[in-house]
Amino acid sequence: MSAVPLHMGLLLAGILFLLGLVGVLTRRNVLFMLMSIEIMVNAAGLAFVVGASRWMQADGQVMFLFILAMAAAEVSVGLALIVQMHRQHKSVDINVLERLRD
């Protein structure tokens, strides 16, 4: 079985992570921020899976299952918050939430 070399897999994971990060830092729409976070989480998961296949260990795959569960939980909470935010502020612009500072 011709495996994907380790460095290629990690590079892809890194690129995905950076894409997600830039998305979080630059987007103002909360929905897009949430999606970017999902990308980052999945990038981390990809790194685990690549590591697992390189060393032929099941730990990485197990870790990915945990990450999936965590991501599902996170998304449910995040979406609920966004719904609330939209109801109260009539907007999904993250800068509107600045007023929560005080």
């Binding site: 990060l21 979080v24 830092l25 630059t26 921020m33 939430l97 600045e98 500072r101 005080d102």
Partner: protein, 634 residues
């Protein structure tokens, strides 16, 4: 098993009462019962012990019992041990017996006060500490009691610390008493260190036995140790120069003044000196100082009492003056005369304070006796018992106990080898002042025109103590008669196994009789003068106060010879100034700087909390990058 083995119960009963009251409190009824009954049982136990002691004295005229060893450091292992001998027996009797009646009186006197069970808890703590003080075989245990009475005195002077009107003053008086006596306590503990260094133990009988062999008479060690012991005694007994706390201590309730600041605690100094009389005999210089301090205090206090308006302050100065008499007796080597005067003084001074308390209660907490007047008809029982006490204080001849206890002191001040004409003269002049101020108080309070309605008539629990102490003030003197009255001396015979009789100088025979007549005459003269100036022609006193010189003298005496002002200028103000200067010194600046830095940093980082979520995310990323860089490259 004799009763001697039960003496540990004497202090334990009040201690138990204190602990129960302090932990559980209790209703007024429970507190009154728990506050008085244990001390009453102790008193019965003391009387039983005394009867046993008189019939079958223990071997060596002293009974000691080691309960347990307190702690051990090297060779030094002070014991929790009790020691019973004639001296401690007399003190035990006064503390428990007079204490019981004062507590009984308090159950009625304090009935309407807030903190009723707190009061009885403190009082029992005091009785316990005082009993430990006089029963202790070891100096360190004595010191424990010494500090315990100081603490309970502080707590009780400031008992009314919540009173809206003069709460600040009461708390101030309590602090003042505590701090001033602390000076003496510090001297005492230093004295104990000296004793420990020289004798290797603080066991009192051991020290007293070993002292003549260890110290040369008049050696510097003996002088220093006794000077320091004297310092402690002077602080506790309100003698010159640490006397200023006692008049202010009258801020406490009247039963407290009666028990602590008249009958027992303030005489702890007398006890200490009598207990260590062997040491003082080895330091004749210090003994002379004791006599001079006593003589100076008794004169100063007696004249201060002449100008007081507050009935309790008159009694406070008179207490100082009477303890001055005891110190004078100790100074001239008349040990048992001092202890005898202590006992009689405890009876009549407690009586006077209780009487004054009853009057103050009746007058709705009015202390100024010039606003009372004419109470003789309204409160006959208080008047008559107060009169008995006043007679004893003024040492009216033959009929009162005070005469039989004070007269020997004057005699020994003159006739002992350590006495002199000047000491006698001071005591003699002060005796006149004593008689005048005592009857000034009686006449102003109970005679003349009534100025205020009587609000409260004393009930049975106030009357019983007054009557018992009143009777004792009259008859207790008969257990010690001077040579010219049949020479009936069971008291000094009783003390003789412990306290040696005074060494007499060769004075002409028959002088004692003449001096007695002189003392008797001067006491009566004082009563006459008080009658003349405060009942018949009060205008004369008023006119005297109107003149410039008269007003100045009056103010000077009323302020207790200006000692408070002197100490404020000499000690309090410099210390306060120093504290204020010291507040801004270098060390404080460092810690102030740390505080300022944190405040500044806090304000700086506080800006980071701007509410921009993306900013926070960026901060997290930046932090993670920095941490990873550090991990990778360091």
């Amino acid at each position: 098993m004799t009763v001697y083995h039960l003496i540990w119960l004497i202090p334990t009963l009040p201690l138990a009462a204190f602990l129960i009251l302090a932990v559980f409190g209790g209703s007024r009824k429970v507190a009154a019962l728990l506050g008085t009954v244990p001390v009453g049982l102790s008193a019965l136990l003391v009387i039983w012990t005394a009867v046993t002691y008189l019939s079958v004295p223990p071997a060596g005229h002293g009974f000691s019992e080691v309960l347990w060893t307190w702690f051990t450091i090297g060779n030094f292992s002070p014991a929790i041990a009790l020691y019973l001998d004639p001296l401690s027996l007399v003190f035990l009797f006064v503390i428990t017996f007079v204490g019981f009646f004062i507590l009984l009186y308090s159950t009625e006197f304090m009935a309407k006060e807030e903190g009723f069970s707190r009061f009885f808890a403190y009082m029992n703590l005091f009785v316990f500490s005082m009993l430990v003080l006089v029963l202790a075989k070891d100096m360190l245990l004595l010191y424990l009691g010494w500090e315990g009475v100081g603490l309970s005195s502080f707590l009780l002077i400031g008992f009314w610390y919540k009173d809206a009107q003069d709460a600040g003053q009461n708390a101030y008086a309590a602090r003042k008493a505590f701090l001033v006596t602390r000076i003496g306590d510090t001297a005492l503990i230093l004295g104990l260190f000296l004793l420990l260094q020289d004798f290797g133990t603080l066991d009192i009988p051991h020290i007293l036995q070993a002292a003549p062999g260890t110290w040369q008479p008049g050696s510097s060690r003996a002088v220093w140790a006794t000077i320091l012991l004297l310092g402690g005694a002077v602080g506790k007994s309100a003698q010159l120069p640490l006397q200023t706390w006692l008049p202010d201590a009258m801020a406490g309730p009247s039963p407290v003044s009666a028990l602590i600041h008249a009958a027992t605690m303030v005489t702890a100094g007398v006890y200490l000196l009598a207990r260590t009389h062997v040491l003082f005999s080895l330091a004749p210089v210090v003994q002379l100082i004791v006599a001079i301090i006593g003589a100076a205090t008794l004169v100063i206090a007696a004249f201060s009492a002449l100008a007081q308006k507050d009935i309790k302050r008159v009694l406070a100065y008179s207490t100082m003056s009477q303890i001055g008499y005891m110190f004078l007796a100790l100074g001239v080597g008349a040990w048992s005369a001092a202890v005898f005067h202590f006992m009689i003084h405890a009876f009549f001074k407690a009586l006077l304070f209780l009487g004054a308390g009853a009057v103050i209660l009746a007058m709705d907490h009015e202390h100024n006796m010039f606003k009372m007047g004419g109470l003789r008809k309204k409160m006959p029982l208080v008047f008559w018992t107060f009169l008995f006490g006043a007679g004893a204080l003024a040492a009216l001849p033959l009929v009162t106990a005070g005469f039989f206890s004070k007269d020997p002191i004057l005699w020994f001040a003159m006739a002992s080898v350590k006495g002199s004409f000047w000491l006698w003269l001071a005591a003699f002049v002060a005796a006149l002042a004593t008689s005048v101020y005592t009857f000034r108080m009686v006449f102003v309070t109970f005679f003349g025109r009534q100025q205020k309605e009587v609000h409260y008539r004393p009930g049975i629990r106030i009357r019983i103590p007054l009557v018992v102490l009143g009777v004792l003030s009259l008859i207790a003197g008969w257990i010690q008669m001077p040579a010219s009255f049949g020479h009936f001396t069971p008291f000094s015979d009783f003390m003789e196994t412990l306290l040696p009789p005074a060494v007499m100088a060769g004075v002409p025979a028959g002088l004692e009789g003449w001096l007695e007549i002189a003392t008797a005459v001067i006491a009566l003269l004082g009563v006459y003068l008080a009658w003349q100036f405060y009942v018949k022609t009060p205008v004369a006193v008023y006119r005297f106060k109107q003149t410039t010189v008269g007003a100045r003298i009056y103010r000077f005496l009323a302020a207790g010879w200006g000692f408070d002002t002197l100490y404020r200028v000499l000690i309090v103000q410099p210390v306060v100034w120093l504290a204020r200067v010291d507040k801004r010194d270098f060390t404080d600046r460092i810690y102030e700087g740390v505080g300022m830095l944190n405040l500044w940093l806090g304000r700086l980082f506080g800006r980071a909390q701007n509410g921009r979520l993306r900013g926070y995310a960026f901060g997290i990323v930046l932090g993670a990058v920095i941490v990873m860089t550090l991990i990778l490259f360091l």
